[in-house]
Point group: C2
Chain length 192, copies 2
Amino acid sequence: MASHTSPRPPGRPRTGVHEVVFAATLSTVEKLGYARATVDRIAAAAGVAKSTVYRRWPSKGALIVDCLLDAFGPAPLEGADRAELLASTTRWIAAKIAEPGVGDAFAGVFSDAVSDPDLREILSTRLQDPYRLALQDALGEPEERVLFFIDVVVGVLLHRMGMTGAPMADADVSALVEMVSAHFADGLDPAR
Amino acid sequence: MASHTSPRPPGRPRTGVHEVVFAATLSTVEKLGYARATVDRIAAAAGVAKSTVYRRWPSKGALIVDCLLDAFGPAPLEGADRAELLASTTRWIAAKIAEPGVGDAFAGVFSDAVSDPDLREILSTRLQDPYRLALQDALGEPEERVLFFIDVVVGVLLHRMGMTGAPMADADVSALVEMVSAHFADGLDPAR
DNA sequence: TGGTATCGATACTCAAGGTACCGAAATCAG
DNA sequence: CTGATTTCGGTACCTTGAGTATCGATACCA
């Protein structure tokens, strides 16, 4: 082996900029909305040149997806039994989407992905798949059923956000929790 | 009274162009996707000048909303009992969204509305409200509960469409019908 | 025949995503 | 200390698409 992966490549090292850009992204989206949160403005808010942003992320969509990954972090997946796990996961997603900027950014990339297959691939692979796999593992459910669960929870929350501009109120989140708990509770009861 | 509303104003009359433009909109969206279905291309496909389109609709979003209203038409609201009405309404929405172009166009405007308050207003007032009111009347449910129903059905279908690029398969539509029927079935059973 | 409003066509403005290029700065090897 | 290498900020640029403005031509009515 000629040289093990050199611990530091030659040239000027990159400055650690991810955190600053993520923070600038969320605050800009919160203040101006998704469409007006241009890459120029985000870079300016982060105190960074636009070219620096595009040196790290290939597109605005990819930046937002990474920003969302950072904002969501790993799924808690807490809960004694299966019903509790479904409820806590639903409430966790609802709470994250309600955080300032997160819901707008999520709805925004999702919207862009509708007519951009490349972005749809990024969204599906980098954002949805990790949580889907973790849920399949924790619930012992097949892929299609977990995908339906995600469609329900995320779809409802984003639709409310998109139609009203504000995150879903607690009472409705509780109704959502109740609905998915009832629907996905089988495997416990004898029926079906 | 000087003159009762004249049956025909002076000048060259407008040509009836709505139907042609609606058809061109759906087929263009179906062929090229929402983002590439520009107003120029839609107008060209309709054999009409772009200025003619903008003489009738103030924005691309308003055009799409009118196109969706035309595609959906009045809600059937059939069903012997309440559960059947919920099920048939859900399946009707799913079938409409699965029609070529309709789902893409719906997801597209919805996406645009996320960061465009004016369009959100149009979407809410012109598209959602009529069906919401009809449902409130048919179901005898309060506004908030019908809004939640719409969030669930439309949100789930659009999320699936947005993530996969294809309308939801029948099996999952049936799961959706089952879920909403169970959740909104109270008022019949003694509980709650 | 004249008045009026729409027609198609074209050219335009503006915003935003993304690319290209520049000299300046940071780091390492020698 | 010097040269090689790479990222830095900054700026100019390209492209696409929404929306506006304008113009001669056309269709209708009185």
